[in-house]
């Protein structure tokens, strides 16, 4: 089978109400070319199924270690339960675990399988003005799959949204854009060097692509993750707002940093680079700090700026 008939999906979330208009179904694709240091879905980054371990559900019965063909599980070790250098993410231990402590993140699904899940809630979309949102990871990493899935939704009168980093081939993006009603487009920094430093890639493709889809007349909501020490800096918001204004964007969602993904890093046996950095939502002075931007907000009063989606 041509791999583009299938994509790796790591979650499907129904009744999603913060990622585009109305009631939506969110399809999370696995695989992303960026490595944002604060990423709250680290399991979305690699384009292969991955073993996730939840220590709070483990009763240390040892069944997983018994069945592991590569002896990659050390039941005595609390910190390095799974030897990631040995683990090939085969998932044999997952079926041995009776406690749900082990799971394989990422499931190969066909276009028809994904579409049939989307179609189930069509009546809820029609009533609420909702639809489907492709998210990730970077959904457009699965370009051919997304194109065909979006076309199918489009033909079935289902409103489509794509949440993207914009770091994709411009020809691909243009082809896909014809079936997208609205883009949720992430911008992390207007500064090339800084962008490269905090995400691993340059922003020039991203910014060019955004200009292109705006030129195509596509609806875009700009999403800005606000990350302390990374892009929560004086000039960044001003530059981003100005850019947004220049290309005629009318809605911006500011997504304050949170550390809800931290336990997932542990579950995947990875290091969390943001350790010790306070989430913005929980720090008391966050609202006060946002007020210091009030003159900025006023200046761009034609843009609907919201905290959160």
């Amino acid at each position: 089978m041509n791999r583009q008939d299938e994509a790796l999906i790591f979650d499907i979330q129904k009744y999603s109400i913060h990622d585009g208009p109305g009631i939506r179904t969110l399809i999370f694709f696995k695989g992303c070319p960026l490595r944002c240091q604060w990423c709250c879905n680290p399991e979305s980054q690699r384009a292969l199924p991955e073993l996730m371990f939840k220590s709070n559900l483990c009763i240390k019965c040892g069944r997983c270690a018994e069945v592991c063909p590569r002896n990659a599980i050390d039941i005595a070790s609390e910190l390095n339960r799974i030897n990631r250098d040995e683990c090939v993410n085969c998932g044999i231990c997952v079926s041995a675990c009776n406690m749900d402590a082990l799971s394989l993140v990422g499931k190969w699904m066909t276009i028809d399988q994904v579409f049939s899940v989307i179609l189930r809630d069509k009546k809820y979309y029609l009533k609420s003005g909702g639809g489907v949102t492709l998210s990730g990871g970077e959904p457009l990493f699965w370009d051919d799959f997304c194109l065909r899935l979006l076309k199918k939704c489009y033909e079935n009168n289902i409103h489509t949204a794509v949440e993207t980093s914009g770091y994709v081939n411009d020809m691909t993006l243009a082809r896909i854009a014809q079936y997208v009603d609205i883009f949720l487009y992430d911008i992390k920094s207007m500064d090339k060097e800084r962008h490269k430093h905090i995400t691993g890639v340059s922003n020039s493709i991203i910014i060019d692509n955004l200009k292109k889809i705006r030129a195509m007349g596509k609806n875009v909501i700009l999403r800005i993750p606000l990350i302390p020490e990374k892009n929560y800096l004086e000039d960044e918001l001003e530059n981003m707002f100005k850019f947004a204004s220049d290309i005629g964007i009318t809605e911006i969602n500011i997504m304050p940093y949170h550390n809800l993904g931290e336990s997932k890093y542990k579950g995947l046996g990875r290091k969390y680079d943001m350790e010790g950095i306070e989430p913005l939502k929980f720090s008391k002075d966050f609202d006060i700090q946002m007020q210091t931007y009030s003159s900025l907000f006023k200046k761009y009063k034609d843009i609907d700026i919201r905290i959160g989606g």
């Binding site: 499907i12 979330q13 129904k14 009744y15 999603s16 109400i17 913060h18 990622d19 109305g22 009631i23 709250c40 939840k54 709070n56 559900l57 079926s95 009776n98 749900d100 189930r120 809630d121 009546k123 809820y124 009533k127 609420s128 003005g129 909702g130 969602n253 997504m255 304050p256 949170h258 550390n259 809800l260 931290e262 336990s263 997932k264 542990k266 989430p279 939502k281 929980f282 959160g308 989606g309």
Partner: protein, 844 residues
């Protein structure tokens, strides 16, 4: 500003609920008004009483009732009961809650629970085992975990030496057991040994919508005139017919009860006048007005809003005190009470006064306490009467009927915020957006009330199942627990007796019986038909057929039991109070239990639908499709309570589950619900009606779960069954659109006149902005247009989050949402869980 009750706090000031939104801006009473502080004072009295912890057992009613009964030996039973009720109303000590504006209390003391020995009282001496200690039920009251009840040594002695011995063999429960032994020994055996269903024989007639509007508009004086005319016509024309003499007795009994009610009201008047003498001037003025009201109503037509509420409270509360029972619901209160309210506004009644009186009235729904047995008290911490008020919906011409009073009742619920009355909001395709928004904003303050019920499903169901004309069906109202009835307050003469106590039927038990060839594995008794050895089942169809046969047999047995129970109600417990307050019995002179109402059905209830559907799906998948094991091996695993069969259990848990919008599991749900309804609907009851079904559990899913062994869905022995029509604990939580769709697929809601409870948890943090509310509204509207019957949204509280932290295995489906991110709560780190909880606490 009035300084009365200045130190009184309102409940929402002491709580962290989100008290914000459009509806709160429209409230008439605010926390700084003395009127609202009075309501909160009345509320605190209830909270501090039985609802918090302590109640008092009173034997006054039992004593008076028994005294009268002893003196009327030999008279027709309807007359004896009417006289006993009258005697109770004439002599019952009257407690007056401080600062209440309505007189009348269903017990002789504050937070009292009266005993109704005529239904069942020997259970007080049943032995229960509590923490390894065996004791009598009555001795367990003071040490109960949830609600403790206390009584004096004298009263206890009276119970032991006089009350229980006198009623031995005379109670409804004893009569039912005796008559079943005589007429249906096989059914009695099945009842005792199968653990399939628990019909109620402990309390009086339940689930009514009485004709309150006639009491308000005509007064008892008007009803008395109608009854006396009927009586005269019998005496003149028809005395040559034995049925006429029975009718005459029924009418005489109604007249006796009328005297009792009026006497109680006049005693209230005297007490209020007496209290006025020593009260401070403001209170004295109120008490004098209350006395005047009680002299006037319910004897005469009510002239004011205050009197109308007083009149309804009298007959509602005295129904508790006399005939007892629960779920005596008010029907479409916002429709039939609108005129008198508007008239009183014209006469100068202020909005504030009207709202205060309404809230005083709503508080009275929690004045009733009832003793339940130990098991019941564990399953239901906190007593519910389940008496409901229905608001909203279409009028009889199909137009939206929401009005000022609907809104006042919403405000009343927000302020009173107690277990009862439960507010049911009727929603239809044209319900105004702002009204739905107000409902959601109040739901956001937690507690799951108002409940939402759907005109688009229920009106056709009543028409199809009961042959109700369209205009009457459009005036339906909700009755606690969850049943739907015609409302005689809005459609003249359209009363219903739905005898909705046919018992909570354990939908999982027939599966268990089919797995064991008719033997109940909990006690090893052979109870059901022999539907085949397991090895004889060649396909899933064979097994499903066995489940169907077990269900049909269990239903048949249950029907026999219920018909005998209804026969016993008619023969031994005719109900003069209900006869007086129902237009059918009033018109025909027959008892409500004889089929005198316009609509007669018997309501049956299926419990554990999710677990039953999952059991069938797991058997189909694991045994017949994947062939992971034989049916015999699966049954061995169940008998071993899965010990040593963890892998098999895992496979069963991994099978598709009801509630995840999975067609296969939902179709098995449909198989279970259709089989159950087909079986019941084929049986007539003894009142010329037939059996109709509903699906809910209240808390009986815990009780029935205790009686059920390990089940093929992966559930262990004695664990609870799935709640009402919610998914089981094993179902992956895919959010509300999945559960809503599963529910609609699994149940044919055009049949379920007896109601459905569908509970859905919602995360408060996803309901804070107007935009989020409007999406929630669209969820509700889609559910309504798709034909869901009812839904109850539980907005998650901090307590649940805390419990989830301690018991992650129980809360796998709990999602939290913060800043554009949804997470399964149990997946979060300790520190994160703590911050989520703290956020929930600080939300306001």
């Amino acid at each position: 500003m009035d300084e009365r009750y200045a130190s009184q706090k309102c409940w929402w000031e002491k709580s962290d609920v989100p008290w914000s939104g459009d509806v709160f801006d429209t409230f008439v009473l605010t926390e700084d008004s003395f009127r609202e502080r009075r309501i909160q004072l009345l509320r605190d009295e209830i909270i501090e009483g039985a609802y918090g912890k302590r109640g008092v057992i009173s034997v006054d009613r039992a004593k008076l009732f028994t005294e009268s009964y002893k003196s009327t030996k030999g008279e027709p039973v309807i007359i004896r009961r009417a006289k006993a009720h009258k005697y109770v109303m004439e002599h019952m000590p009257i407690y007056v809650p401080p600062e209440q504006l309505l007189m009348g209390y269903p017990s002789s003391c504050k937070n009292g629970a009266e005993i109704e020995p005529e239904y069942h009282c020997s259970w007080l001496e049943n032995i229960v085992e509590i923490d390894g200690v065996k004791m009598r039920e009555m001795d367990s009251f003071p040490i109960r975990k949830f609600i403790e009840f206390h009584f004096s040594e004298d009263d206890k002695k009276y119970l032991e030496e006089e009350l229980i011995p006198y009623w031995k063999g005379r109670t409804l429960h004893d009569c039912v057991t005796r008559e079943l032994k005589l007429h249906a020994p096989e059914a009695l055996e099945y009842w005792n040994e199968s653990f399939t269903s628990f019909p109620v024989t402990r309390i009086g007639l339940c689930h009514t919508i009485q004709d309150y509007s006639s009491v308000v508009k005509k007064g008892l004086i008007g009803l008395r005139k109608e009854i006396e005319e009927q009586l005269r016509s019998i005496e003149i024309d028809n005395i040559n017919d034995y049925r006429a003499i029975t009718r005459a007795d029924n009418y005489k009994a109604m007249l006796i009860v009328i005297e009792g009610i009026i006497s109680y009201a006049h005693r209230c008047a005297d007490i209020a006048d007496e209290m006025a003498k020593s009260a401070p001037e403001e209170r004295a003025k109120e008490l004098r007005q209350m006395a005047e009201n009680c002299r006037l109503v319910p004897e005469n037509p009510a002239r004011t809003w205050w009197q109308a509420l007083q009149a309804i409270h009298f007959v509602h509360m005295l129904t508790w005190l006399t005939d007892a029972g629960v779920a005596h619901s008010l029907g479409r209160f916002d429709i039939y009470m609108k005129d008198i309210l508007e008239k009183d506004f014209e006469n100068g009644l202020s909005m504030q006064e009207a709202q205060e009186l309404l809230e005083c009235f709503m508080v009275t729904f929690c004045y009733r306490n009832q003793l339940v047995d130990w098991r019941g008290s564990m399953a239901t911490p906190g007593w519910h009467t389940n008496d409901k008020i229905t608001i909203g919906g279409v009028d009889e011409h199909g137009k939206d009927s929401t009005n000022l009073l609907s809104k006042m009742i919403l405000e009343g619920h927000a302020h009173v915020h107690l277990n009862d009355p439960i507010i049911s909001v009727r929603i239809h395709n044209n319900t105004p957006d702002d009204f739905l928004k107000h409902v959601m904003e109040i739901l956001r303050t937690s507690g799951g009330v108002p409940q939402i019920i759907n005109d688009e499903a229920i009106i056709p169901a009543l028409m199809g199942q009961l042959g109700m004309p369209l205009m009457e069906a459009r005036n339906y109202a909700d009755v606690g627990c969850q049943e739907n009835q015609s409302d005689p307050n809005c459609s003249e003469g359209a009363d219903t007796h739905g005898h909705q106590n046919a018992g909570y039927f354990n939908l999982v038990k027939p599966i268990e019986l089919a797995l064991n060839n008719g033997v109940n594995p909990r006690n090893g008794k052979k109870v059901g038909p022999q539907t085949g050895e397991l090895k004889s089942f060649r396909s899933m169809d064979d097994f499903a057929q066995a489940v169907k046969l077990q269900t049909e047999y269990a239903v048949k047995m249950n029907v026999i039991i219920n018909n005998v129970i209804e026969y016993c109600f008619l023969t031994f417990m005719p109900t003069p109070m209900h006869n007086l307050l129902h237009p059918g019995p009033r018109k025909r002179g027959e008892d409500i239990n004889a089929g005198a109402c316009k609509y007669n059905y018997t309501g049956a209830i299926g419990t554990g639908l999710g677990t039953a559907a999952d059991c069938m799906t797991a058997v189909s998948h694991v045994v017949f499709k994947d062939k992971k094991c034989s049916l015999e091996k699966l049954n061995q695993a169940l008998r071993a309570n899965w010990k040593g069969y963890e892998d098999l259990r895992n496979a069963c848990i991994s099978a598709p589950k009801y509630g995840t919008d999975n067609d296969e599991a939902d179709n098995w749900g449909r198989f279970i619900s259709d089989t159950f309804m087909d079986a019941y609907e084929s049986h007539p009851n003894i009142r010329g009606g037939r059996y109709l079904c509903g699906f809910f559990s209240v808390t009986q899913n815990h009780v029935l779960g205790e009686d059920t062994d390990a089940t093929p869905d992966g559930r262990r022995a004695k664990e609870m069954l799935s709640d009402s029509v919610s998914p089981s604990q094993f179902a992956e939580a895919l959010g509300p659109t999945a559960t809503h769709r599963s529910h609609i697929k699994a149940i044919d809601t055009k049949r379920t006149v007896n109601g459905i409870t569908f509970a859905q948890s919602m995360d408060l943090s996803s309901l804070m902005s107007d935009r989020e509310l409007s999406k929630w509204g669209d969820l509700i509207r889609t559910f309504v247009s798709e034909g869901g019957q009812s839904v109850q949204y539980n907005v998650l509280s901090t307590e649940q989050l805390k419990d989830a932290r301690l018991n992650p295995e129980k809360h796998k489906d709990l999602f939290v949402r913060i800043g554009g991110y949804t997470a399964r709560f149990v997946d979060l780190s300790d520190a994160m869980q703590e911050s989520v909880i703290n956020k929930a606490i600080q939300r306001c």
